[in-house]
Symmetry: D3
Subunit: 227 residues, 6 copies
């Protein structure tokens, strides 16, 4: 896992049925369904509003200012994959632009999550190729040092293994381990169903205090109402 | 004011007529009309472009990662209120989403200002429920520790008292003390009228240097023109 | 160059033909054509999506919280100019709003790049007056201390000389020295032509690994493929 | 409270006996004794290790890059006072150096807490004049705009009223409202006594799990031990 | 790995002989010996200068503002262990102080690495109990929510498995997987020996250009010397 | 100036007499003597307390994560030089450690100012080799891409030309253009003399309000004293 200069070709992607089910949900719902783990840091933002993505991770480990491994990763992509790019140090350079997006899409990739910078934002938006990044930057990169592809990485504070499911939208990016994908999809479905009822109640004026029966706990905790 | 575990039920809201007058202005104008005080830090950003809000504050004091008091606050809301949520430490967790928005709106609230994170951005945008926050994050919160409702808080660097007027737009969030609301509304009206004339002059090519008669002061300060 | 209180009236602007040619390109392309230098830090963001700008720099050196020199700069503007405002310390105050934009536009300016804050974002968007800034803030400024106009400045980490060409879009802001403008325009043209071919190849499924003939270098560097 | 251009001469300082008692404690203990409120943001750091301060607040409201009001504040100082300087915007300029420290000390002040920059750190350290600041910066300031002295301010996220007790050490800065000073001092004394016993137990190898009787609550919460 | 509410009791600690060998080296040497991976983000700083630590990781996963699991972790400590505490969100609260340090030391722990805040810095320094943290903060925490102990965590951007070797000093914190510990120790030894010779040469005035034979590569890359 | 891959061998260093005179002053005094310009951003901090430096700049332009040019710069050093290293993007990697310090010192260099990271802090402190940096990081760098030596650079927001005088201490780093060095030294001398008198007056209890005759201006500005 700690080796640089490695490309793993055969990875176990999450069950396509689970990916399909998870694709119906947003990042917040999936994060809750996971038990509130697996979320990337909130500095990861989509390059355009309304972006939504659900796919299986092909991971890349980059060095600051060097995007060589992105080209290596392209060859490992299969339809439905999401490239998840981590970096050995905090860096905002523009590792990714419309040419790489064209290549990734040609291989079937559905988006990119990168703990670094992205450029050609206008073109990517026009292409509808969604990217979540820590920065937008026109700064170009070099191709000089080996990183790795399809090793376990830490991206924006979250562990990502090749084949994990990535769910991302306006609220952020969540990582679902491949082995938990179906179980999380079921939990998300249950949660969502449950939310519709709650939403209707709250819309009718019922308070969360009553709907969730919070008053006894609040009183026990010592909450005081004064006038 | 420093107590945790307090909910103040009867607060004095700013004069509705003043709120109505202030609702015609943006944050920059109101901030100037206040004498350039009362502004929250600029990291407070609206979750969608074009959001505008003017209402009376119901304040909440939260702990990091805990949104229990948001539910307590819901019960204290009246039509036209804005929830202003401060936190005892810097935290970006997603304290607020579409369920709470549904509840707040059912109570008449017109928006939220939170020195923390917000989620369900897509749904909130669709609802047209405006939120200004320090972050967007899918991260869920717990309900374990008492904060307070309707105590004086410091939110994003600004003091907010329950009942104060909150004016927010794309430029940021400004707090108008309830007792000053009408006076600030008048000053804003005067300022805006004044600006129309200035705008026309500047559009015609008159320089600010001349319109504001700055040349003598600049010369006195020692400004030198060279070729 | 280090003097405060100086306004240089006669500056040498970049060749209009070069500016015209450069206006066809985005910041990323121009940055690459420059040899990957001249880029401002990526915290400089446009106030609205889709903004694009190409013009000659009139520089301003500001003090934190003081926009006096912006009015002085207005008089030095010529059609096609871009105001580039640096600040002697990091500051997010709202140095610029719709009144100054009206004045700048009346003088022919096509936009603003400011290492500080901007306000009246809604009005500026409606006007279509593009601004790249480090912050959006309603905070007003004073007019008390002399800075300079048309001296060499450091703006968001980049050196800017009066008359340099500024190219800015969603990807950031790049500075082209006046003396290099035509040469960079030619290089950008060549690069762009080159990219169209690459894009078509990549879209057809050719890998960057093959198109750029990267495999030998990767092998020499020791890249290992495992299953 | 929101007025600029105000100097309040007669302020009610906290009871000297309470200040004396509080001076025996560090910021963490006082913060706990307050019920975990009143703490400034942790970016406020002492300029030298081992600094400790307890005194009554004389507040100052500054503008970015302008330290005029610091001189106005000097006249209002009495022995045992601490200057607490807030700023209308985030700013790191060096508002304070050894000359002002000499003046403040001559008036009896025991230290400074400033949500801005400080300079002459070497001299201040040699003088033993403690300062907590958000930055160290050699950058000089001007004297052009009125702020206020002895109004309520928000400093590094905490509300400070003139006369409040400020306790600061290597752990940060805490604000004790004047009216609560004696009560907090008593609570801090009780807490400290309590801690000595706990420390001895823990040092002997007793676990917090047992000393605080946490095991039942952990089990009830569902904690699982696996091998 | 993704479960909350888990305490793993039996972990495989790195070979004590490898830990002993690694303890002779600083973080930079170990990081290089690892092949330049395994480093935590540089915001992790020691609370006092000259701190040095080498031990086996007992991991803790915390929630913002909640240090309950630190007490649970204490029971799992063995002599030579280092507590490595990660947090589910960025948070600077003071999760750790002198009482917990007393408890950890009584169990044999040699230090703490925490992606959160630390307090009682003066006492910890006097105890000689080294801590690397993202912040120093007097802010207290609660004990309300289950995290985990001895699960794999991401701490300050680095993956840490229970039993891994942690090497930390003034330069930062590096994580050596238990299975690689001896191999890294050997590589570090070789590297250090090598450095002594280099240091002597450089001290005598030999240039790195010549010692590392860089001139041909620089010339090939196109470096130009001008006068 | 914008070329990468350039090493300028013959640079005009500031007058040694001016450097000698300037070496008597701290950064704050020199910054004031310059007219309050030429200061680097305050994130540049010395790696140990009490560091002080005055010398002539040999500039280096680095790429993120690549310290190749530091070796090239070593050859250009003369006794009394300070290496000033800028980077084409924000990066905290450890570009510099004790081996390079040994080499630089062997060539006569008196310190380093780097808009990047530094490592081997303990060794550098023991050597008494002063470094001002944006970060401390154990992270190693590669040697792959050409930057430049002795071109004009922007370092931490300040323009630095080869041969300029660098004055740095606990308060920060200031750049004095070679051509202004003697004039600034004279101004600093005058200022310092002036400060001694002021300090004595302030120590005796005279207020800055009176010493600087501020009361009329404050009154004119509208300052109001209330009780």
């Amino acid at each position: 896992m700690y080796s640089l200069g490695i490309v793993k070709r055969n990875i176990v992607r999450a069950d396509p049925a689970a990916v399909r089910e998870l694709s119906a949900f947003g990042a917040a719902t999936v994060h809750e369904a996971m038990g509130r783990v697996g979320l990337m840091r909130p500095y990861m933002r989509p390059i355009y509003t309304g972006a939504h993505l659900c796919g299986t991770a092909v991971t890349v480990l980059l060095h600051p200012g060097d995007n060589w491994m992105m080209h290596v990763a392209a060859e490992q992509l299969q339809p439905g994959d999401v490239v998840v790019a981590a970096c050995t140090a905090e860096n905002t350079d523009g590792f990714f632009g419309d040419l790489l997006a064209t290549s990734f899409r040609a291989r079937g990739a559905v988006g990119l999550v990168i703990d670094g910078g992205c450029r050609d934002v206008k073109d990517l938006t026009a292409m509808g190729f969604p990217v979540w990044s820590r920065a937008i930057s026109a700064k170009g990169t070099i191709k000089a040092t080996l990183g790795s592809v399809n090793v376990r990485v830490v991206c924006a504070g979250a562990e990502v293994n090749p084949g994990d499911v990535i769910v991302a939208d306006d609220d952020g990016v969540v990582v679902v381990p491949a082995s938990m994908a179906m179980q999380v999809a079921k939990a998300a479905t249950a949660r969502e169903a449950n939310e519709a009822t709650k939403r209707a109640k709250l819309a009718s004026g019922v308070l969360g205090l009553d709907m969730y029966d919070m008053r006894p706990a609040l009183e026990k905790a010592g909450l005081k109402y004064i006038d």
